[in-house]
């Protein structure tokens, strides 16, 4: 065995606790801000903010923006921007709504709520989103039209394509299986949620262990064991705590009674059931995990960050930066379509104004989450946390009773202030 004290590479400047834990100071700052925000709102609302019910709602409201924000990270990291995500979401939502209310029931003649409807609708939607995104990317990469212009045009085009497709009407109700992707209508229930929570915890701990082993195998410096242990405890606590909270939110008894009636049964007296993890949140978690792996462990991710850091260097290193741009925007388009599934399913219909202002929320989430507009820096978890902070701020203010105009004034100011703090922080630590 290698004696850790005689390793050739000794960490020299590991002074403080944060460095020992190898945690991102920026991430800690954001989590700190988020916690202060939550506790603040909780105090002002006499404990109504941090109830299982509100946390459940906050979570499902965040999903749609958070999914798109994770794609926006790649776009902004490569020094582009996408102003069309809300409009693209609307087009994908309209296409899916028409597929499940017109195409499958009437044109294919399968009727409403056919078992294949939801999957057909989602596949059509995802393909539409990916193709439109790839088309944007082609115009940016190969025709060298600035992304700002391409997506500003797309903002108008896709918003109105959605309008045209639906004649501006609200399309609904959507397919009953499809609506399970929205949140309240599709949850796992308590036992399955616990099982998933435990599996996720086990996977997280296994990942930690493996990365430590890989470092030791190459004799790289590793964190002290206590730090590794502390991190493991924090991660397990966070995952299981989250599951516990979502399980604690109980389905209203009248709703439960209706569910029993639908199955032709009678609800036993005093029966209660928690919601558990919503399917939409599982989708977000899957997106977050996949996008993080893409960002950190694939060539595609490496090239995205290299191109963001120095486009010329990337090109000279033999990276096909044009094709890369197409891929990035295609991913963005795919995620817009996925968000459209969640957003329209949550509303139970497609409305003409779905996704309005989402482009700004998504960009704000990515930027608050530490994605630098100058390119090269950004994390997926940061963007998702950014989306959560924005949503908490918005719904917290609504709960406190802040007037609607002031809500937007505050959100706008917070965005500017967050970027300013970020600039000061980067100057302090000497990063670009």
């Amino acid at each position: 065995m290698t004696d850790t004290t005689s390793q050739p590479i000794t960490p020299q400047n590991r002074r403080n606790l944060f460095q020992q834990l190898e945690l991102d100071v920026r991430l800690l700052g954001m989590i700190g801000a988020f916690i202060i925000l939550c506790i603040g709102f909780n105090l002002v609302t006499d404990g109504r903010f941090l109830t299982p019910r509100n946390i459940f709602n906050l979570t499902i409201q965040t999903v749609s923006v958070a999914i798109m924000a994770s794609g926006m990270v790649f776009v902004i990291v490569t020094r582009h921007i996408d102003l069309s995500v809300g409009a693209l979401l609307a087009t994908c939502s309209a296409v899916m709504a028409m597929t499940q209310t017109e195409f499958v029931p009437n044109i294919l003649g399968l009727g409403l709520n056919h078992p294949i409807t939801w999957i057909v609708a989602i596949v059509v939607g995802l393909v539409t989103g990916t193709l439109i995104g790839a088309f944007h990317g082609w115009m940016v990469g190969y025709l060298t039209i600035p992304a700002f212009i391409v997506t500003l045009g797309g903002f108008l085009v896709w918003r109105n394509v959605a309008w045209y497709l639906t004649d501006g009407q609200t399309i609904g109700p959507l397919d009953s299986t499809f609506m399970m992707f929205g949140g309240t209508n599709g949850t796992l229930g308590t036992s399955l949620s616990w099982i998933l929570g435990l599996v996720a915890t086990a996977l997280a701990l296994l990942t930690l262990w493996n990365s430590r082993r890989a470092k030791l195998a190459h004799e790289f410096p590793v964190k002290p064991l206590w730090a590794e242990g502390a991190l493991a405890v924090i991660i397990s606590g966070a995952i299981l705590g989250f599951v516990a909270i979502l399980n604690a939110y109980e389905i209203p008894s009248r709703r439960l009674a209706r569910m029993f009636e639908a199955r032709g049964e009678v609800m036993p007296e005093g029966f209660t059931q928690g919601y558990g993890l919503p399917i939409s949140v599982l989708i977000l978690i899957a997106v977050a995990v996949v996008m993080t792996i893409v960002a950190r462990r694939t060539r595609l991710g490496r090239y995205i960050f290299a191109t963001g850091g120095n486009p010329d260097a990337a090109e000279l290193s033999g990276i096909n930066t044009r094709l890369l741009t197409v891929k990035i925007f295609a991913i963005m388009g795919f995620l817009c379509a996925l968000s459209a599934v969640v957003a329209s399913a949550r509303l139970a219909n497609h409305s003409n104004d779905i996704g309005t202002l989402d482009e700004l929320r998504v960009i704000a989430a990515a930027v608050i989450g530490g994605t630098a507009l100058s390119g090269g820096f950004g994390t997926i978890y940061g963007a998702i946390l950014g989306a959560l902070i924005m949503q908490s701020l918005q719904s917290g203010m609504a709960m406190v009773g802040v007037d609607a105009p002031f809500q937007n004034i505050v959100v706008g100011s917070v965005l500017v202030a967050a970027v300013f703090i970020d600039i000061v922080y980067r100057k302090r630590v000497g990063a670009k």
């Binding site: 792996i293 960050f305 290299a306 850091g309 010329d312 090269g376």
Partner: protein, 260 residues
């Protein structure tokens, strides 16, 4: 061992021949019918004022620019180089004036950029790349320590050693160095000079673009001088003085011509 000079005298096929290369941008001939060649273990200096066309000429070889006319031969065989990937496939590596590093990535990521080591599942193998990076940096620049920081945190010399490591690691046969010492202090410049000698001894052919006549006199076997996109001439360093080279650069005349 045969010296590059003997190789040339014996009429051996050069490793690189760039024949009658022309390239123009918006009607201006940046490179006008220029021919240069390079033998194994030889350092050929490319000299000239800013805008003389030396960087443009060499970017044709590294695949960054496409030539309008002319041909490139590697070991006597005509090749097509239309992008940096083509150049790399002929073992041509370039160290750019601007270093061409992604500042936000660490040394290992830059070293392997475009040619990452991947695991069996196709994921990037950072640990293996860092290990390889530590190995080669140990050879090139033993004082290098900052393996886990973005290269923006490195000094000019450290960045240069990352750029050079990239060329050396992938077994370059033909190395293009575009003002490799422009951003460096005296000590680091000396380090690069020693490295060039080391690479030369391994039989690598080097095109060295430089402003500094003294550096060229010290490091190169031959020098090709350009002015206004045209080749003034190629001379053997042993046959000329600093002043001869300077007058070629400034007046655009080969030694002897001025006197005649």
């Amino acid at each position: 061992m045969t010296t590059p000079k003997e190789l040339r005298a014996s009429g051996a096929t050069p490793m690189v021949e760039m024949n009658n290369i022309s390239i123009s941008f918006g009607g201006i001939k940046a490179v006008d019918d220029v021919s240069v060649d390079l033998h194994p273990g030889e350092v050929v200096g490319l000299l000239g004022h800013n805008g003389a066309g030396k960087s443009t000429l060499i970017k044709v070889l590294s695949g960054a620019y496409k030539m309008d006319s002319g041909e490139i031969r590697i070991n006597g065989n005509k090749v097509e180089i239309t992008n940096p990937r083509d150049a790399r496939s002929h073992n041509i590596e370039t160290i750019y004036q601007t270093l061409a590093l992604a500042d936000n990535l660490d040394a290992a990521s830059n070293l392997f950029l475009g040619r990452e080591i991947v695991t069996a599942t196709g994921l990037v193998n950072d640990a293996a790349m860092e290990a390889e990076c530590r190995k080669i940096m140990g050879r090139l620049n033993p004082n290098f320590r900052k393996f886990n920081e973005p290269v923006s945190a490195l000094s000019g010399g450290q960045r240069q050693s990352v750029a050079i490591a990239r060329a050396v690691y992938f077994n370059a046969k033909i190395l293009i160095m575009d003002e490799p010492t422009a951003a460096l202090g005296p000590h680091e410049t000396q380090m690069v000079a020693e490295l060039i000698q080391q690479l030369k001894a391994q039989g690598i052919g080097i095109f060295l673009i430089d402003h500094d006549v003294h550096a060229v006199m010290e490091l190169c076997d031959r020098a090709s001088v350009m002015k206004n996109g045209q080749l003034v001439g190629t001379v053997d360093i042993d046959d000329v003085t600093d002043d001869d080279l300077l007058s070629m650069i400034i007046l655009g005349k080969k030694p002897g011509e001025a006197a005649a």
